[in-house]
Symmetry: C2
Subunit: 226 residues, 2 copies
């Protein structure tokens, strides 16, 4: 009899990237998915996350983060407009959510300790990304070092690993990997301002990056547009 798979904690937003990460992690780990309700503009993401977790038959927890923590972003503040895609844009965009990945990874770290897991998966990407500081490889490496100093597991010598299988992949490469693993991209929501039915705007950064990825591969994008 083979050993049971080790447990991994997978951050699942309901988007294309995290669905692909779950498919990758699920090949070699016993996955537990976690999602967040942080007053983001599009709650259809959470419904997508539920559907994706169910598709892979993995356990799934959704945590509530108080309104007032991750504010000051066009993704959480409906009075701010989500900008249209701009190839020439420089710097950190208004869709940046303060300390989002740090907060998400810290929940994952607590759950990993509780469940005796040494493996956390997150779908950050430093290629087709939007200039977010908390998507860079140097950020992830420093989080991993901190996590091993922070926890009982780290002190006891069980090295905790933050897996970022998509960090250096283009959107097209991610979609190729996911397609090979039969990810149901129709269930994913990438749009920053999707409506309640999960229909996408087609004009925000995230919609445009997704669209270009599918186009580059010559694969039909199952996204439903408003």
């Amino acid at each position: 009899m083979s050993n049971p798979a080790s447990k991994a904690i997978v951050l699942l937003s309901g988007g294309l990237d995290s669905a692909t990460v779950l498919a990758i992690a699920n090949q070699s780990f016993d996955c537990h998915a976690i999602s967040f309700n942080y007053a983001q503009r599009s709650l259809s993401e959470i419904n997508a996350a539920k559907q994706i977790a169910k598709h892979y038959s993995v356990s799934h927890q959704i945590f509530q983060i108080d309104k007032g923590v991750m504010v000051g972003s066009a993704l959480t503040d409906k009075s701010m407009d989500v900008p249209e895609f701009d190839d020439e844009e420089q710097g950190i965009p208004v869709t940046y959510v303060p300390a989002r990945n740090t907060l998400f990874l810290s929940y994952a770290l607590a759950i990993a300790e509780v469940k005796g897991s040494q493996d956390i998966f997150i779908g950050v990407n430093a290629v087709d990304f939007s200039g977010y500081p908390d998507c860079r490889p140097e950020y992830i490496r420093s989080y991993e070092i901190m996590a091993n100093l922070a926890t009982k597991a780290g002190v006891e010598g069980n090295t905790l690993k933050i897996h970022v299988p998509l960090i250096d992949k283009s959107k097209a490469e991610i979609i190729q990997i996911g397609s090979d693993l039969d990810v149901d991209y129709a269930a994913t929501v990438s749009c920053y301002q999707a409506n309640e039915q999960g229909e996408a705007c087609g004009v925000c950064d995230s919609c445009q990056l997704r669209r270009k990825g599918f186009e580059a591969l010559g694969i039909a994008d199952p996204t439903r547009y408003i």
Copy 2:
């Protein structure tokens, strides 16, 4: 006219250490205190935090962390006994709460970004502590490095600092500093299992460390015992 003080985010648990930290920070910063309801055993801590924040007339937010995040500790699980103080105890005790300081600091980091603050204060202490990995100086240093890579402020060159003014102080030294700053120690709750009225057990680690600190200084401890 002098410049207005910079804003600092202060983690305020309602205990002796964090009350002292707030008194220190409040000397040179415009402080915003944050506390957490994380299903800890003693909710009287939160009432104490409210009272302390009010005493210093600082703004105060209390965040709710879902049950099920910080479990597996005698501080959050009422089916586990809080052990009595043991001088010979080795290793990480059962009162350790998984990833607690990492989660708390990550909320502080998000709030700091939102409020444009570059200064976070936390009352961790590596002398009279209980063997928690997330109270060690090397942990705090690594958190600070990570925080500067994680955030907009860090990327833009505004160095974010995690202040730990008590890290190398004995409990007696902390009480001396606080007494000089007129901290109202009667309002603080140190006990791991205080009752709703904020009365302390007198036998847990935290009660014993506090009692010894006051004794060493020859100052009367205003703690009310059950």
